[in-house]
């Protein structure tokens, strides 16, 4: 990029650390973490649903905590560790939560599924998968318009059981 085209002050230089690797990026300050992941890093597993903080499809982990990437500016994530659905399991394998979702048919169209799974992984880390009721309450930020909720709860219960046995 020629020096004469140095960006205006509305651009931001940052390092995004996603799924264990770092990327230097120059972004318009308005770019959300969601759009940076999908459009700049080509990590399209994270989905854009409502794009307004209401549906949970864009859920990722930032420094280990589940957040909504559609309401997070990419600039705010400079240097923070972001984990997306692509980074849950190494080398093309499946995370136990992903396996449980498959086993219990925890989806229909699949669009909300990456957000559901990221949220469910965080739920277990929070220690809030103790009962079906608790799972339903603390997964309420992830909407499934196909209505696969009973199977999602079953998948999380199974994964929680495995987790408790570790």
């Amino acid at each position: 990029m020629p020096e004469t085209r140095r960006g205006p002050t509305t651009e931001v230089d940052l390092t995004l650390r996603v799924n264990g690797s770092s990327r230097r990026l120059r972004l318009d300050s308005r770019v959300t973490l969601l759009d940076a992941l999908r459009d700049r890093l080509e990590l399209t597993g994270t989905k854009k649903g409502c794009d307004q903080g209401a549906c949970g499809a864009c859920t990722v982990l930032a420094d280990g905590k589940r957040v909504l990437s559609c309401l997070t500016l990419a600039a705010q994530c400079d240097g923070r560790e972001v984990t997306t659905i692509e980074g849950l399991a190494p080398d093309g394998g499946l995370h136990p939560m992903q396996e449980a979702f498959i086993r219990h048919d925890g989806f229909q169209c699949g669009y909300c599924t990456p957000g559901q799974i990221m949220s469910a992984v965080a739920l277990l880390a929070e220690g809030r998968a103790g009962s079906a009721e608790e799972i339903r309450e603390f997964m309420s930020g992830n909407i499934c318009r196909c209505g696969a909720y009973p199977n999602i709860v079953a998948a999380i219960r199974e994964a929680a059981g495995q987790d408790a046995g570790l």
Binding site: T10, G56, R66, G141
Partner: protein, 330 residues
């Protein structure tokens, strides 16, 4: 959506100086209100956005019977704090009844206090009439879909509700916010921090432009105080309140020695119900007293057809909350 300059704040003093000196500059914390209103709704249009999330305002410390909470503590951090679980269970209940875990991991306590209304007309610049967004332009909600709107502190100028759950127990507790300005710091009880809209709904609190909310002091309830937060909503979870009530009672031998009461979902500001507290204080625990307290709490409501149901619902919510916390006390 207009472009803005993103700046990361290094320390409180320079952050306050920067925003105080530029009317087009705004603070950014968790972003769950700010980013939404800027990028998605086009309601806020700062030219400079000062990210304060790395300022040292993250701690929770206990000083005797007061919890000192930094403005950047997240809702989730406060909800899982041990002192909150032990001595302020209704604050914990209000936090966990708010939003979703994802949003609670992002949203800060300062941001929760300063959150903007969910009024759909305020959030839609295509609607010309909104006195909060454009003073003097009118109120579209008055003749619009107003199920989620206010009946207390409301008028024909504005019926936008303050949607916080957390702030309902906080006003009941006489929590105090700390504010840093360019010259000096000051503090204000939360009950005096919010401003009932009157004919200036654009003025929501006593903050001047550039002043930064840095912390809140939350008094702990005495051991043995019974407290509860009851939230009534259109779905079981992840929904704003239609009505809510926060109550804390000290009961001595079947008589209410001390009462703290506030209502949510019905006020243009988090609504402290001092009149209800007066009715309860010194009265015996019982349904008749609770109904009298509810009548006192919801006096002189301003209703439109969409909100008329809230008068009875708010009263029943308070009665139910009082019944629940006093169960087994007689």
């Amino acid at each position: 959506m207009q472009a803005f300059e993103y700046i990361r704040a290094d320390d409180v003093a320079s952050a306050v100086a920067l925003v105080s000196g530029d009317l087009r500059a705004q603070y950014l914390a968790g972003g769950t209100t700010q980013v939404d209103l800027m990028l998605k709704d086009g309601v806020l249009e700062p030219k400079r956005l000062l990210d304060i999330t790395r300022l040292p305002l993250h701690g929770i410390t206990r000083d005797g019977d007061v919890l000192h909470v930094g403005a950047l503590v997240t809702m989730e951090e406060l909800a899982t704090d041990a002192a909150i679980a032990e001595r302020l269970p209704f604050v914990r209940d209000a936090l966990l009844a708010s939003a979703s875990t994802q949003l609670r991991n992002m949203a800060t306590i300062g941001g929760n206090i300063l959150q903007r209304t969910r009024c759909r007309y305020f959030r839609d610049p295509a609607v010309p009439a909104c006195n909060k967004r454009m003073p003097g332009s009118g109120c579209a909600a008055i003749s619009g879909a107003a199920r989620m709107h206010a009946i207390l502190g409301a008028s024909e100028h504005c019926i936008a509700v303050h949607a916080s759950d957390l702030c309902v127990p906080l006003v009941a507790l006489d929590a105090v916010v700390h504010i840093q300005g360019p010259e000096a710091g000051r503090s204000a009880p939360l009950t005096e921090f919010y401003v009932v809209p009157g004919d200036r709904p654009d003025v929501e609190n006593v903050l001047r432009h550039g002043e930064l909310l840095t912390a809140i002091d939350i008094p702990l309830l005495p051991p043995g105080t019974r407290s509860g937060y009851l939230k009534i909503r259109d779905r079981a979870s992840y929904e704003f309140a239609l009505t809510s009530a926060a109550v804390a009672l000290d009961i001595d031998d079947g008589v209410i020695a001390h009462a703290r009461v506030a209502l949510g979902g019905v006020g243009t500001i988090p609504w402290r119900a001092l009149e209800a507290e007066e009715v309860l204080r010194g009265a015996p625990v019982g349904a008749e007293v609770f109904r009298a307290a509810a009548d006192a709490a919801v006096h002189d409501p301003f209703t439109v057809p969409g909100t008329a149901f809230k008068v009875a619902l708010a009263k029943r919510t308070l009665v139910r909350a009082l019944e629940t916390v006093t169960r087994g006390s007689a």
